[in-house]
Amino acid sequence: MLIHKKSDILSSEITSKENFENRRTLIKAAGASLITASGIFTGLMSGSANAASGRQKINAFAKSKYGTEEKLTPYDDVTTYNNYYEFGTSKSDPAIESRLFKPSPWTVSIEGAVKKNKQIGIEDIFKLAPLEERIYRMRCVEGWSMVIPWIGFSLAKLIQWAEPTANAKYVEFISLNDDLMMPGQRIHVLDWPYVEGLRMDEAMNPLTIMAVGLYGEVLPNQNGAPMRLVVPWKYGFKGAKAIVRIRFTETMPKTSWMKAGPNEYGFYANVNPTVDHPRWTQSSERRIGGGLFTPRIKTQMFNGYAEQVGQLYSGMDLIKNF
């Protein structure tokens, strides 16, 4: 005799395939956001993650006379080996931790010794001057270097637009202070926000640029999007990233690294093989992109740009003004 036993699971309780798949996606998404966002601001994920991971070409830029015969550092090295403490102190941190960073909308304030305080959106900054490619060597104070094809424009153009007064002797660059988007700022390794500065004549030098891209593409977040300073004859830390304020001052700005270690990091921070850092030899450097058996190369005075910038420092004691 057959006994029909009724199933003790109601048909309404059985998960449809569709639902099951949906749940899996939800769980997966939750997992992914835990990994990338440490689960703190899942809400930011949806919009920015896609935007940030997609590489965007810059359509119009001119090749410039600035370039070197040196081999470019591979794109992957330029975008995964970064010193950007706002996203963590390890070199691999910025590429990962900056994925949620939103470089737009973005406004830059112009203030201090100017005719009139102004604000400018990043899309208008792009239109201030024609963009051009500048291939520059970048020498880090830690003893390594890269060759990077930046896209940007002469900082002088932005300064002309800003209309500083005669009192402006220095320019101060202040980076974004936002520990939601920049998780590294939750740790007080530096006095946030990051502050850098230049003397007016250094800022106006044709070599100094505001970079908005590299390798023909919009600047990746980990390289300082949407806009960063590039001063090729100075150590890399002078290149303030994610700049939100530009302030013209009469007195020398106190930069973040000067506050962190006054005997290690000076205001000028010119690349100089004859002045050693207390920690690192500055007479030679390791060019990134080489293999295990690629020897160091000699570091050049002013990173090889002595001809263009040497006159800025004539008569100055470069040992005292390191």
Partner: protein, 206 residues
């Protein structure tokens, strides 16, 4: 209390420790052959060998407290191997510095050692560990007798130098070297606590 572990088990554990201890080396070789050492491969090799040397130094220093607090004296039999692996990775660290990083440029290396405190203390730590490695054999232990113990007390000084080396080389974020400092101080504290307890055991009438 005295627990004895039989010899064949000790040999098996030794083989296991030896095998595990070579993993960091084979990892580097694997990464090197598969283009996995990243943007700055020489820095990665230097960092990795240096870190593992410090890890093995800490491991060799955990043997005594484990032995003391567990009462199992056989643990002492694993100490020499851990100490020698510390020396092995320190050696690779020095080789990668002298060869890969500076291509035997002795002028540059001398300048680097003399001018930069963190290189100086690191180099000193390595030099001091050479006699310890040389006198690590059973025959040497016998020959030196009581002086062996005294000589090998150097390991504490080496540990201090090694941690200082790490602390001074870091640019800003000192978390990692401070972890090693904490581990080291805890290991010292465990030794002192044991001594103190024994002192009480011996002096207070039961």
């Amino acid at each position: 209390m005295s627990v004895k572990i039989n010899n064949s088990l000790i040999i098996n554990i030794k083989v296991l420790i030896f095998t595990l201890s070579t993993i960091p080396l084979f990892r580097l070789i694997y990464l090197g052959l598969n283009d996995g050492l990243g943007a700055n491969p020489i820095e990665l090799v230097e960092r990795s060998t240096g870190t593992w040397s410090l890890v093995f130094l800490m491991l060799s220093l955990t043997i005594t407290p484990i032995r003391q607090w567990s009462g199992i004296n056989s643990f002492i039999q694993f100490r020499r191997m851990l100490g020698l692996f510390m020396f092995f990775y320190a050696g690779l660290h020095i080789v990668s510095y002298v060869w890969l990083d500076h291509w035997f440029d002795l002028m540059e290396i001398t300048k680097d050692i003399v001018k930069h405190p963190y290189v100086l203390v690191g180099f000193t730590a390595f030099i001091l560990s050479v006699p310890l490695a040389i006198t690590s054999t059973k025959a040497m232990m016998k020959r030196l007798g009581g002086r062996w113990k005294l000589l090998h007390k150097l390991v504490y000084f080496i540990a201090v130098l090694a941690i200082l080396h790490f602390l001074w080389l870091v640019k800003k974020d000192h978390t990692e070297p401070l972890v090693y400092l904490t581990v080291f101080l805890s290991l010292i504290a465990l030794r002192m606590a044991y001594k103190y307890r024994r002192h009480i055991d011996l002096t207070v009438p039961q």
